[in-house]
Amino acid sequence: MIIREKAIKYGDNVDTDVIIPARYLNTSDDRELASHCLEGLDRDFKEKVKERKIIIAGNNFGCGSSREHAPLSIKTSGVKAIIAASFSRIFFRNSINIGLPVISSREAANFIQDGDELEVDFSSGRIKDITRDKVFEINPLPEFIQGIIKSGGYINFVKEDLNK
């Protein structure tokens, strides 16, 4: 899979309370959640995401709560991938489980600037910053996790396993 999208860049420790404030957790409707995505951090996110669909961030992206509403609201907003210097453990796991591609690359996350055009090739493990003409190699994910991604999320993966 190859995606070509522009970047929206944020800083360190983007927590789950700014991704989706708890006052909106009285629903599990993904469209409604998406309408408040990143509201606590960037009021313009909803506009930006119409044109730019890769989030770039610093350390510890998604820290805080285990609320799956956070990656769900990002995915439903149309974001195709998140590239961060590092991710909080639960957010990383939740994203993989719901089929939202998350890539840990400190080098790429530091280098890529807001608005840059990017090409991400998940099969060869490569991020290209087209704007600045630079290529980054991605560390491959463990085989087991790749299996979940290939199935399109953990639920499908488990269903396939149960039907074996």
Partner: protein, 425 residues
């Protein structure tokens, strides 16, 4: 494999035991059996929808699922009521034994240990990040998302990456009023909010053995605020005493091998630790409370899965007894479970709180996450015994939360600004 490689931490041993192995290596991904699967009114509705997609129809074991409406319960609005109803109907349909209705419930991470539902050696997952609280009992317990809980409910299994362990050795005597909250805020201040990312935190040392179980729950609870996967204590006399009336003693105790290699060991002298406050917007902004005396506040919250237990109410009552809350401050005290509430009532603490001018609430997570029962307006500031002080955590994005233990919270309630007990008693 040489002897050193064979040596394992408590965390490795518990995970190995749950996948029928003698040994697991750090970094390895395994599929393990879980003992308890927990969900609440925020996270379980999504988990139920995902569970229904799997198609097993029934949960793997109705005795091993725990369901607690605590976040936006008692229902704060119609949408929350719908979520709670959806969850309640699922619990009934699946005949889940451990569903706790309003009136019998408590904040999940205070309730499960109190009822003896979580035990040493258990492998526990919950769709709530503070599920790491049960590490205080020598369990490997961690927060996961709703999809993970859906899979765990259907199959009784979940994938885990075996984490590396960082050991924290606490020594020295604690100063007056210091509790587990001060130790853990100091620790997070030392290592940062990602200082234990993907790691197991093992709490040990001579000072820890003197800590109450309530203080240990507080410390394990906040392991996640340093990015930790587990926050685990070894079982000792205090653990056994806590469990005496709560279990039949039929649990497995694991200990780290003495020659095991830790990723890092921190030696922390507790005799130097003063009352701590974490300034916004990160739990790692730990400072001495005495250096923040010019910070005025609007609200104090004493409660939550972090600090809503007997020790917290006892300290608060000791400071508030015979004194009045500052006229400009709202104080909300939330005993974490019905049993804690009742015990505090019998001991006269509730009367003390009400006479001082505090509001006392039925158990709920409410204000901690800006849900209900104490949401902050623009520009307002709270001192709170809860666990997070992120931007907008307790309400308006331009409100602020200062995290503390019960002593600073109660003293601040009287002073109307951040204060230490010595200033008000």
């Amino acid at each position: 494999m040489n002897d050193k490689q064979k040596s394992q931490t408590i965390t490795q041993k518990i995970i190995a035991y749950h996948c029928d192995r003698d040994h697991v290596s750090e970094g390895e991904i395994i599929n393990a059996d879980v003992d308890i699967v927990l969900g609440n009114d925020i996270t379980l509705p999504i988990a139920i929808k995902e569970f229904n997609k799997i198609g097993t129809g029934r949960v793997f074991d109705r005795d091993k699922i725990v369901v607690v409406p605590d976040h936006f319960a008692p229902n704060k609005d119609i949408k929350s009521a719908q979520q709670c109803k959806f969850m309640r109907e699922f619990a009934r349909e699946q005949e889940i034994k451990n569903y706790f209705e309003i009136g019998k419930m408590g904040i999940e991470h205070a309730l499960l240990p109190e009822l003896g539902l979580v035990l040493p050696g258990n492998l526990i997952v919950g769709a709530d990040s503070h599920t790491c609280t049960y590490g205080a009992l020598g369990a490997a317990s961690t927060g996961v998302g709703s999809t993970d809980v859906a899979v765990a409910m259907a199959t009784g299994k979940l994938w885990f990456m075996v984490p590396r362990t960082i050991k924290f050795m606490y020594s020295g005597d604690l100063k007056k009023w210091i509790t587990g909250k001060d130790l853990i805020l100091h620790t997070i201040g030392l290592i940062g909010v990602e200082g234990a990312l993907y790691k197991s935190m093992e709490f040990s040392g001579s000072a820890v053995s003197k800590l109450s179980m309530d203080s240990r729950f507080t410390m394990s609870n906040m392991a996640i605020e340093a990015g930790g996967k587990f926050g685990i204590f070894e079982v000792d006399e205090a653990t056994r005493e806590f469990l005496k009336s709560r279990s039949d003693g039929n649990y497995k105790i694991f200990r780290s091998d003495p020659d095991v290699e830790y990723e890092k060991i921190y030696n922390i002298d507790c005799s130097d630790i003063k009352l701590q406050v974490a300034a916004p917007p990160l739990p790692s902004n730990a400072k001495n409370a005495e250096d923040l005396k010019d910070i005025n506040i609007d609200q104090v919250v004493i409660g939550s899965c972090t600090n809503g237990r007997m020790e917290d109410l006892k300290i608060s009552a000791e400071i508030l007894e015979g004194r009045k809350v500052d006229k400009n401050i709202r104080v909300i005290i939330i005993p974490a479970t019905q049993n804690i509430y009742l015990e505090a009532l019998k001991k006269g603490y509730i009367e003390t709180f009400i006479n001082s001018g505090c509001a006392v609430s039925t158990p709920t997570c409410g204000p901690c996450l800006g849900g209900h029962m104490g949401v902050l307006a623009e520009g307002e500031r709270a001192v709170s015994t809860t666990n997070r002080n992120f931007v907008g955590r307790m309400g308006h994005p331009k409100s602020e939360v200062y995290l503390s233990g019960p002593a600073v919270a109660a003293a601040s309630a009287i002073a109307g600004r951040i204060a230490t007990p010595e200033e008000v008693i």
